[in-house]
């Protein structure tokens, strides 16, 4: 590990003031950052410890939604009665991720920003455009069974590893931030992440030194919720494919559908065409197949991960069957 300076921030304002976003990093749970520092994939000159900030509460707003502090541990969020009651998909997604020990430590804000698990990202001797811009991508043509089939570019085929963030996308979460200049802004989760294009090292729209302070969930919506995760072992494995789904059926028709996917793309994936294929339709094999076709319409495999395309179709169809009883 490269030597670094350490500061503990007392307030969010102090945290963003103390950080030079280009070479410093915030640290909360550290469940991903410390691993990357040990391998010198990340070599910050300074860590600003935000773990003691007063951002660990979950509050009900007047509009019926929830405001979740960025430092709420994944375990606490998953077990929160309000989350279980109104946002079951989120609780389930959290519990499908990592291990009990990691969930105790990992924070809500950090989970949104965790880095890919692409093998080549983790070895500084490999070429990786995300780690070392312009160096190339060893995953294309290499071992890529776990990597992305949607939203990839010739520069990067990494996936985003989070389960929580997939549920957050299905729930239309909003990210609240504080910028170094003291401005606060609200970013829809749909606008938070960027496709890799030719700059895969830039993963979000956050500016250097911008701190996530809260995540807002709108008030609970109608419909049944489920998070289904397909993986190589029963726990402590990243999703090959996952689906966060909220579907409401009224009078024999699908009234609303909110579907997000993990394991398929460089960000938690959501595609309006998938939902459009369902809304207004009676739950049926044909409607489900149309939604699944829409999901994988632009999918592209890289050899060992080709199987994710039929797997995603099957998983989505089965999830829709479960939720609608069709």
């Amino acid at each position: 590990m490269k030597s670094f300076a350490y500061e503990r921030a007392e307030t969010p304002e102090a945290a963003v003031r103390d950080i030079d976003g280009a070479t410093a990093r915030f640290i909360a749970g550290g469940t991903n950052l410390l691993d990357l520092m040990k391998l010198q994939v990340e070599t910050p000159t300074k860590l600003v410890d935000i773990s003691r900030l007063d951002l660990a509460s979950i509050d009900r707003r007047d509009d019926g939604g929830l405001t979740i502090g960025a430092l709420v541990p994944n375990s606490d969020l998953a077990a929160d009665p309000q989350v279980i009651a109104g946002y079951e998909v989120l609780s389930r997604a959290l519990l499908a991720g990592a291990s009990g020990q990691l969930r105790n430590k990992a924070s809500t804000g950090g989970n949104l920003l965790q880095r890919t698990r692409c093998y080549y990202f983790y070895d500084t001797a490999s070429r990786c455009n995300k780690r070392s811009p312009g160096s190339g991508c060893d995953a294309i043509g290499g071992v890529n069974r776990i990597l992305a089939v949607l939203g990839t570019s010739p520069h990067c085929i990494a996936t985003h590893p989070s389960d929580m963030a997939v549920a957050m996308r299905a729930l239309d979460a909003t990210i609240l931030t504080l910028k170094p200049d003291g401005d606060r802004r609200r970013i829809s989760i749909h606008a938070l992440y960027r496709l890799p294009g030719d700059t895969p090292h830039i993963e979000t729209v956050l500016e250097p030194g911008e701190l996530i302070t809260h995540v807002e969930l709108p008030k609970p919506v109608a419909g049944r919720q489920v998070y289904r995760k397909v993986r190589d072992r029963a726990s402590y494995a990243f999703a090959l494919v996952s689906v966060a789904a909220i579907v409401a059926v009224e009078e024999g028709r699908i009234a609303s559908a909110s579907l997000a996917f993990g394991g398929l793309g460089p960000m938690p994936w959501r595609n309006a065409a998938v939902e459009a294929a369902l809304v207004g339709q009676a739950p049926s094999a044909d409607a489900f197949a149309a939604a699944a076709d829409a999901l994988v319409a632009d999918a592209r495999g890289y050899g060992a991960n080709d199987f994710k395309i039929p797997l995603a179709r099957r998983t989505l169809i089965a999830t829709l069957r479960d939720l609608t009883g069709a």
């Binding site: 402590y236 494919v241 797997l311």
Partner: protein, 743 residues
Amino acid sequence: MFGFGTTNSLTMDKPHPESLLDSAVQGSIGRPFDRIDGPSKVSGTATYAAEYPVDNLAYGFLVGARIGAGTLISIDADAVRSMPGVIDVVTDLDRFIRVAGQGGETQPPTQGVRDIAFMGEIVAIVVAESYEAARDAALRLPVTYEAGEGAYAFAAARAKSYVPPDGVTPAHFNQGDVDAAMAEAPVTIDATYVTPSQNSAAMEPHASIAVWEDDGSLTLYGAYQMPSTDASQLAKCLGLSAKKVRIVSRYIGGGFGSKLGIAPESVAAAIAAKQIGRPVKAVMARQQVFEATVRRSNTEQRVRLAATRDGKLTAIGQESLVSNQPGEDFFEPVGIGTHMIYSGENRLITHDQVPLNLVLSGSMRAPGEAVGMIGLECAMDELAERLGMDPIVLRKTNDASVDPEKGVPFSSRSLSRALDEGARRFGWARRAGPGEARDGEWLIGMGVASAVRGNMLMESSAKVELRPDGTATISSSMTDIGTGSYTILAQIASEILGLPVDRITVALGDTNDPPAAGSGGSWGAGSAGSAVYLACEMLRGKLAKAMRVEDSALTLKDGMAIGNNRSSPIGEIVGDGLEAIGHIKPGKQEKATTQASFGAHFAEVGVNRVTGEVRVRRMLGVFAAGRVLNAKTARSQCLGGMTFGIGAALTEELLHDPRNGKLVNRDLAEYHVPVNADVPQLEVHFLSERDVHANPIHAKGIGELGISGAAAAIANAIYNACKVRVRSFPVTLDKLLPGLPDL
């Protein structure tokens, strides 16, 4: 090596029908005692290799090559030497070892790191005042190479396969004519099974602390399974006489074969410590354990079976391709169990080696059987289906009564009994036809496989001392790699000497103590246990003399010696103390009988019909391994083996980039050993058995029996569940998906 004064030595030339473990009355043997080392382990006071408090210690971090093959040109030590905390950059291009040592070898492993034979080869060690300073400098150390041509892809290199020298099993064995038998037989199977490279993934990484003493001798605190031969390997690497090297390896956080021989960190730490004049600790990072120690070879097994219509095998063929680094002789002995498990006149069991520029292949838990029984036992399942026969009946039909190749009897063999007992306990009769049982989204299946693991006796010795306070101490360079050696050795002494277990102290893992073969090949209990037995037998004779009774008239129980109508505390009749050394070595029984443990695995799995995910729902292992010395540690060994089987069947696979040999999944997040959620209710049942040909304690090996066949039972259950036969392991969902029904 084995010359002692008060030594009771036994060579197993004859059967040993009488055992003091049957006539003694203390009641310790076989009981499910908790591990005597358990409290020190859970309280953190047990010293693992990296945990010895050593003064003036410097910290080393190893540097692995980042090319797949070629030549090391330069190491720019000056570039990092001035970094804060850095003491030195040390290398020795002639003496550093390129690969780990193989188990039991007294010769050094291949030395010299000028030539890079695989990515990860340890070429230097950076030594600093802290681990982090050493790691930082090691990661920034400029090393230049001239890239060479390497062979990284098995499929492309297979044309270069060659016949390796014989190992623990012959490279090529042929009896009769398998081709002709296949041509004549009414029912045949000819199928190819593929298993991947695997890593032992022991919890404790390889670690060494090297301390040079004033007299020029070296003490190495290491995590080694076989300290006696490892000291010899290390001494020769360093140009020392074996007497000048002491290895201390008291607690080992799992080895599974990966710590049988010395690994590169030991030599690097020793050379660095000498150079800087301070003790050096070198702990491998997890990535280095994966990259630079040892793997189980991948295998490709062509299995051919020929049978009569009533299921009698007329031919067994298992022709395997395995891999290792160019110039390394060890080959994965895939067919070792196939030699003795089933009858059948015509037999062809071969191993050909494919040279690959990957980390050394060597022993991993049940080398041979762990993978060979996958191919054979899946093929038996396929044959049973083709015959329209129950797979258990097929196996029992071919249960060999004598060694099918050597014609000698088995020392003990309970295969059919294990199959029958298992079928009854598991509810085998409820098994449905392929694809017929379902539980919601899950397709349910049951599978069975036989288990066999050769039994070995290795020359070993142990000292037992009886003291006037009525306590005893056992000392030996035997090791406990988490198996329970400490406990079972105490139980053996307790039983024979009539002392409660808590009055017995056991000291293991130090080459200053009497030499022993250590832990490997499941021989530890039988070998070191027999040495302790023999020492105690001699002490018992001395106690009888002190009591003035015949040996047979002496009873030892609860610390009392009883005989001739009187009783005395044992401590009061030992004078200033008594000691004896027990020494066992293999003899003619090894050839006069074929010795192996046998058993049967039963698995029930669910295959998700949507996703192809496989989850094991329950497993049963029925085993016969001679006398069970401790019902709890023996069961734990089998649970561990069966868990390895789940990993081999479903998840474990080292993934190498075919372009440069880079091992991409080199940590425990991406090399998938089973986690708790993958391991369901496992049931273990031992059949009562004694083996008088094996050793005086009548016990055979257990540790590796539990893995043999376990993965095959799971794969056979997968077929029974969903009617998809996957012959490439691990059986991940992507391989099952194409065969699953449309939604």
